[in-house]
């Protein structure tokens, strides 16, 4: 972006919404909303009613959580509609790599480190 924009929250930022890419339609918002409701309901119903327990419950919880994350990204964060260069996507991937490192690394390192 060659344009000089020293003050981001200057006056042109206010009327400037139309410069950006489109932000989805009513249809996509409704689909996203319904999907996220369903993905919230599934684990609640399944786990609260003891339909699955133990490892299976964990799998259901984590699986629906990941799907929920994807729904949020595509329907509300508009990840797919980003113009090139896709900085948001890159930042997301980098962030995920680091988060995975933190979680998996900590679990691995702490396996043999327990107090008492």
């Amino acid at each position: 972006m060659a344009e000089q924009h020293p003050q981001s929250h200057g006056r042109d930022a206010h009327g400037g919404h139309d410069e950006h890419e489109s932000h989805g339609s009513l249809k996509s918002y409704v689909i996203g909303f319904v999907l996220s409701l369903v993905l919230t309901a599934i684990p609640l119903i399944v786990v609260l009613n003891d339909m699955v327990t133990g490892t299976a419950a964990n799998v259901v919880l984590l699986g629906t959580a990941v799907l929920q994350f994807v729904v949020q990204l595509f329907f509300f964060m508009h990840l797919k509609e980003e113009k090139k260069p896709r900085f948001n996507l890159l930042a997301l991937i980098l962030g995920l790599v680091i988060v995975m490192t933190i979680v998996a690394g900590s679990i691995w390192i702490m396996t043999y480190n327990s107090v008492g």
């Binding site: 972006m1 060659a2 000089q4 924009h5 020293p6 003050q7 981001s8 929250h9 200057g10 006056r11 206010h14 900085f87 980098l94 962030g95 680091i98 490192t101 933190i102 690394g105 900590s106 691995w108 390192i109 702490m110 396996t111 043999y112 480190n113 327990s114 107090v115």
Partner: protein, 652 residues
């Protein structure tokens, strides 16, 4: 904490502290008197405290960090004095604990980081042909948050007592049970408040570099310092949240009695060590990467050659910033995570030395057959290369996990990290300061005094830290406040102390150099070093708007290429006509909001909610006030640009 008397509030009992009290009091009185006598309050507020100009914010960062260098350096000299002879009774053990803690925190978080941010601010927008950073208001807020955080931390040594659990404040020692005083709370809030600022600076410079480069400056034509800033900032935004969360958990432990890191109640202090180094290791790369960028600029400029291996340099910078996230466990090989974990992290640590080695060769090949001159910036670079190579090598020795069981927490380690942090980071930032000083202030620093400063620092460094490698191998561990005659350590310690004071003299020479150069000011042109990149194409100091017309970039070292074209008589491209320049307006909100943060932090330190809650309300109020402020920008008219440029001797 319950405060029963004034002596619970003010630190008492030590003549050194009383001396500091008097010095602080006198300095404050003097500052207020001078400002009032010369009627400078309005000027200070309008021109500096409320500024959103990246160049002025950069100068304030540099001043603050040099003051912090003085404080951290004094801590170092106090420690070296205590260790000069066996059985010294200069500092009591608890006082010694406070001093090594504050020395570490201040040198990394309140000296290296702000000096680095200062250089980012002074250089990056000029180097990429931009008129300011992407978010100037946020930039000012970042500075004031750092400043208030640093002041809150520094306050602890006269009010309430300093933290004394080491610079990373490991639990269980840093928990309420073993550190009941307020020192740890000062530590947490000082770092948290300035940490918000660091994170915002990281975001600010990533956006600035990605979005605000001059037209034609593709990423692969960007100057190397800007690349290093990008890599450092990427590391900042991924690493600092880990620090924030870790310290927040420690705060919850201390304040609400939770059990994340306690020994009882299911807590595990080792988890803290694991988490804090996930920030701590990337942190050392955050501070060294920009130094690599500085050396790349300096070596190319003073060898009169383009940088050797530009692409490999970019690759090395970016891979270091990513790899820095995969080595953290080498800080606690001895914790007992098992052979697999240690082997993995030993390997990643050895691997990260490779891109660093690539850089060293690139600098050497850049110098090869260059027309090298040894002005101050180059001198510091020459001091850096051997020092950093040796420091890096001892790092590789430490990365050998089985051997580390011997080196761990010994003076060998202390010598290693001081060698990479002084030889790499401090020398690098000094080199950068000398290099860009004329651009910032319009005059050069005196070369002769600078050479004295350099040699005192450089020789002092080796005299101070080479003996510490030996001491480490002889079995001296870090953080011991004294030792006996029978240990056989005193000769090496005594030599080391002499080296510490030599570096102190080096610092005094630098202060003298600055004062002398201000007094006998020799004005320089916009391009005193025969530079290569865009910042040298504009007057020194740069006008408020930096570039009268935004340059069209064609080459990698664009200013050098422009000068070459001129020498060959190629007609210059016609410049675009001047247009009014859109500028951000100054704002008092950043300093006010940060002052409220200071209040909130201070209140939380002492558990005085009657201070903390109004402070937090003030923070929220400041945010609200800024949200509804639409009067944030103005335009510089064309005739004002013309007169400014004419005053700088330029025709537009």
């Amino acid at each position: 904490m319950k405060i029963n008397s004034l002596s619970d509030f003010f630190v008492t009992g030590d003549p050194l502290i009383y001396g500091a009290d008097v010095a602080i009091g006198l300095t404050m009185v003097a500052v207020v008197l001078v400002l009032t006598l010369f009627k400078r309050w309005g000027w200070l507020w309008r021109e500096w405290l409320t500024t959103v100009d990246h160049k002025r914010i950069g100068i304030m960062y540099v001043i603050a960090s040099l003051l912090m260098l003085f404080r951290g350096g004094m801590d170092a000299l106090l420690m070296r004095t205590q260790l000069a002879m066996p059985d010294m009774e200069f500092l009591k053990p608890d006082h010694y604990n406070s001093i090594f803690t504050t020395h570490g925190v201040i040198m990394i978080l309140f000296m290296a980081m702000p000096l680095m941010f200062g250089l980012f601010n002074l250089v990056v927008p000029l180097q990429i042909g931009a008129r300011d950073v992407a978010f100037p208001f946020l930039n000012s807020l970042s500075f004031w948050l750092f400043f208030m955080g640093a002041m809150l931390f520094n306050l602890s040594f006269v009010i309430g007592g300093s933290p004394d659990a080491g610079w990373l404040s490991y639990p269980p020692l840093s928990e309420r049970m073993f550190s009941p005083g307020v020192g740890q709370d000062f530590y947490i809030w000082g770092i948290q408040i300035s940490g918000i600022g660091s994170l915002m600076t990281g975001i600010n410079f990533i956006v600035t570099i990605l979005k605000m480069r001059a037209p034609g400056m593709k990423l692969m034509k960007m100057p190397m310092f800007s690349w290093s800033v990008l890599s450092s900032c990427l590391t900042i935004i991924l690493a600092f949240p880990i620090l924030t969360v870790t310290l927040a958990l420690l705060f919850i432990d201390r304040y609400f009695g939770a059990h994340f890191f306690t020994l009882d109640g299911g807590g595990n202090p080792m988890m803290y060590i694991n988490l804090i180094w996930m920030w701590g290791h990337p942190e050392v790369y955050i501070v060294i990467l920009p130094a690599f960028g500085i050396f790349s600029e300096v070596v190319a400029t003073f060898s009169r050659k383009k940088l050797f291996g530009y692409k490999s340099m970019v690759f090395a910078l970016m891979s270091i910033s990513l790899f820095s996230f995969f080595t953290w466990a080498h800080h606690f090989f001895t914790m007992g995570s098992g052979a697999d974990v240690n082997a993995f992290f030993a390997l990643t640590t050895m691997l990260i030395a490779i891109p660093t080695g690539v850089k060293v060769f690139n600098w050497l090949f850049t110098m090869f057959r260059g027309k090298i001159t040894f002005e101050s910036p180059m001198l510091w670079t020459m001091g850096f290369i051997p020092c950093f190579v040796v420091g890096g090598m001892t790092g590789v020795l430490l990365s050998v996990a089985p051997a580390d069981f011997q080196f761990h927490n010994s003076y060998f380690l202390i010598a290693h990290f001081h060698q990479v942090l002084i030889g790499g980071v401090a020398f690098g930032y000094f080199s950068g300061l000398y290099y860009w000083w004329p651009k910032v202030f319009g005059f050069k620093l005196n070369e002769k005094i600078g050479k004295y400063a350099f040699w005192f620092w450089n020789i002092g460094f080796y005299v101070c830290f080479m003996p510490q490698y030996v001491l480490g191998l002889m079995g001296m561990t870090r953080r011991v406040s004294t030792y006996g005659w029978d240990s056989g350590w005193w000769e090496w310690n005594f030599v080391s102390t002499i080296g510490g004071f030599l570096m102190g003299i080096g610092f005094l020479f630098q202060v003298w150099q600055i004062l002398h150069s201000i007094k006998f000011m020799e004005r320089v042109s916009g391009d005193p070093w025969n530079g290569r990149t865009l910042e040298w194409s504009i007057p020194s100091p740069a006008p408020a708007y930096n570039f009268a017309t935004i340059p069209q970039v064609q080459e990698r070292d664009d200013w050098w290429a422009t000068k070459e074209r001129k020498a060959q008589g190629v007609p210059e491209q016609p410049r675009a006509p001047l247009e009014p320049i859109h500028m951000p307006k100054n704002s008092g909100i950043p300093i006010i909001m940060s002052a409220f943060w200071f209040m909130a932090g201070f209140g939380l330190v002492f558990d005085w909610l009657w201070i903390a809650i109004p402070g937090l309300i003030g923070v929220a109020g400041s945010m609200l006030a800024h949200s509804f402020n639409y009067n944030t920008d103005y335009y510089i008219p064309v005739d004002e640009i013309e007169s400014t440029e004419a005053a700088a001797g330029r025709v537009v």
